[in-house]
């Protein structure tokens, strides 16, 4: 009901402050994608620990880069869902294999992860009605 309906009310413009989480998520995703794709030693260590070196690292790096692009495109809500998916994967990695402190970084990595996760969730939540297929039901 509704999605085929030309009269479905168009959601108003998203609030301006959502640019904050949107830029944070996109910026960090672009940055970590760059690190992974340029053989950053810390990432090599992580992906070795996960048993995914090097293909997994390139794959995740590519996905992260793609997320950054989508986050900046008009499909930002989709990008936000994808980003939170990547972060969910990272959470699984830290919870099951890596622990909170990686390469003696004092938890910086996990902190960044939490920041991006939160940002993408905020963005996805506040613009959920724009999601294709499921938007009308949320």
């Amino acid at each position: 009901m509704g999605s085929a309906d030309p009269a479905t009310p168009k959601h108003g413009p998203p609030p301006l402050w959502l640019w904050g989480p949107r830029l944070i998520a996109a910026g960090v995703m672009a940055f970590v994608a760059y690190l992974k794709l340029t053989d950053n030693p810390a990432d090599i260590a992580i992906f070795t620990q996960l048993g995914m070196e090097p293909h997994g690292r390139y794959l995740v790096g590519a996905i992260e880069g793609f997320c950054a692009l989508v986050l900046l495109s008009p499909y930002a809500p989709v990008g936000a869902v994808m980003t939170s998916g990547v972060m969910l994967g990272a959470i699984i990695a830290h919870a099951t294999k890596l622990g909170l402190i990686v390469n003696g970084d004092g938890g910086k990595h996990v902190g960044l992860l939490a920041l991006v996760f939160l940002s993408s969730l905020l963005l996805a939540f506040f613009r959920r009605r724009e999601l294709p297929l499921i938007g009308d039901t949320l």
Binding site: D5, A7, V81, G89, I92, L138
Partner: protein, 524 residues
């Protein structure tokens, strides 16, 4: 197809709802112990599980999703494909019966409070086969419109006369044909909207009374709730029921459009312990009401029965019937004149009317359709010079403002709708009202299906529907060049098969009016 859809969707969706989290768990374990790559599958599965949990337990506005979870998304998916695909895959927007998608969409939009402006042009046929409204060259300014008021029982100067301030009422649907959630949502919605609700022939109105709306108590041929063992009227119980504050009007149902000449039918699948008690019937057996009231064997006895109910209840008393033979109607009206007893209203149910369950032949091939019946009844009442003795109501697929206005123009003083309100509740026309398997929880008693029907949310939709209709009536009234809904007359309607020039239909020219209306009734 509709039936197998129900059974399958239920089983398949239950299997899906159980297996999604299980597969997610397995994927997590495999990712953990086999290879981390598998978490590329785990993550989407976790999100799917979350979404499904939200559909099932978190949201209340989509009954189908709450009952079936993510699989019901298929419906929304197909809807989102749009008419261009559906036309090839399934059915076009104007093809479905009894209500096509265009008609249903209008109710859905009104119920959800969405503007119903559409684009490009009407999807309906314009082959001269339909009734259309005739606007005036001189619309009436909005400020000059007069509010609607109709007092049932004013003819008899009753103390307990009942006044409507909207020309729409919720038509009879019994608790039994509807589940308790649906009854309560309708009753609460009626209260919010300020319209009365007919209880249907389901006996003592337990759930209706919970919401504090005004009620029209319907007495079916079995007289559930007010009967003696042998099916005759128990005056004492009727008097007691009529004394309920919420009960404002009594309706004697003589017949119903979907099954004229046949009594009510409640399939055994839908008889719960509680319903058996409220109606005083056994469990495990179809309940078939007799086709007639034991007291009503001819015109004279029917009129006498009307008087008895009027006297016992002290309330306005109307009768509901589907028009059959014209001559019998005239005989009934004459008997009223002879005994000087008139029902406070006469409600005409068109043969296209809905039902919770009826034999197919009766649904398809019996009775006069509303727009044919209404002008005839109006004309007969005028012929007999008793039109001023009672109000005239109409029902039969009057779910859009235009159709309602046509009925009001052709003689009705107010209209009833049953299925319009079911659609407002979220009915998707799955056509399973008789099977206790209604996928959106309206015509079922199964708790797991009623779960999806959020009473408060749907009550609001019922109220929204009424308010949106009110808005449209106002706009239309102005365009029709009339100041109040009560002023509408046949001059506002183009009838199929006749050119407008054929007729001069005005209230002033009553005689001409009657001649022309008779002509309608005789058209092939």
């Amino acid at each position: 197809m509709a039936l197998s859809f129900a059974v399958d969707l239920e089983k398949v969706s239950r299997a899906a709802n159980i297996s999604i989290p299980i597969v997610t768990g397995l994927s997590f374990l495999a990712g953990n112990y086999l290879t981390f790559y598998l978490h590329f599958v785990t993550v989407p599965l976790i999100m799917l599980t979350g979404l499904n949990l939200y559909y099932l337990h978190g949201q209340r506005s989509h009954a189908l999703l709450a009952n079936y979870g993510i699989l019901a998304q298929m419906r929304y998916l197909f809807e989102s494909l749009g008419p261009e695909f559906r036309q090839y895959l399934f059915m076009s927007d104007t093809e479905e019966r009894p209500f096509n998608r265009v008609e249903r969409a209008e109710v859905y939009r009104k119920a959800k409070g969405i503007d119903s402006a559409s684009a490009f042009g009407s999807q309906l046929q314009f082959g001269g086969a339909d009734f259309k409204l005739l606007h005036s060259m001189y619309p009436v300014p909005k400020e000059e419109l007069e509010p609607y008021r109709l007092t049932i029982g004013e003819e008899r100067e009753l103390d307990q006369a009942y006044t409507l301030d909207k020309p729409l009422m919720i038509s009879a649907m019994s608790y039994g044909s509807l589940g308790s959630h649906a009854v309560r949502a309708l009753a609460r919605g009626a209260k919010k909207a300020g319209i009365p609700m007919n209880t249907g022939e389901g006996g003592y109105p337990k759930y209706h009374l919970m919401e504090g709306c005004d009620l029209i108590f319907q007495m079916g041929t079995a007289k559930f709730g007010v009967r003696h063992e042998d099916g005759t009227l128990d005056d004492e119980r009727l008097a007691k029921l009529a004394a309920e504050d919420a009960v404002k009007v009594i309706e004697i149902k003589l017949s119903q459009g979907a099954k004229p000449g046949k009594g009510g039918l409640l399939p055994k699948e839908k008889i719960t312990q509680e319903i058996a008690e409220l109606r005083g019937v056994p469990l495990g057996k179809d309940v078939v009401s007799p086709p007639f009231h034991a007291e009503c064997r001819d015109a004279a006895s029917t009129v006498a029965f009307i008087r008895r109910v009027q006297e016992v209840s002290g309330l306005p008393v109307g009768i509901k019937l589907c028009l059959g033979r014209d001559t019998e109607l005239v005989a009934l009206l004459r008997a009223m004149k002879e005994q000087d007893v008139f029902p406070d209203y006469l409600s005409i149910d068109g043969a296209e009317g809905g039902t919770g369950a009826a034999p197919k032949a009766f649904m398809d091939d019996f009775g006069v359709p509303l727009l044919e019946a209404l002008p005839v009844v109006d004309a007969r009442l005028k012929d007999e010079e008793i039109r001023h003795k009672m109000k005239l109501f109409a029902a039969g697929k009057l779910i859009s403002p235009g159709k309602q206005l046509i009925a009001l123009s052709l003689g009705a003083d107010a209209v009833y709708s049953a299925r319009g309100f079911m659609l407002a509740l979220g009915c998707i026309q799955a056509l399973q009202c008789n099977a206790n398997t209604c996928p959106v929880g309206i015509t079922t008693h199964r708790p797991e299906l009623q779960r999806g029907l959020d009473i408060e949310g749907k009550a609001q939709r019922v109220a929204n529907y009424v308010h949106a209709l009110e808005h449209d009536w106002e706009e239309a009234l102005s365009a029709l060049g009339k100041r109040s809904l009560r002023e509408l007359s046949p001059e506002n309607v183009l009838m199929p098969g006749r050119l407008q020039g054929d007729t001069i239909l005005t209230r002033e020219d009553e005689q001409q009016n009657l001649i022309n209306l008779r002509r309608v009734s005789r058209r092939p």
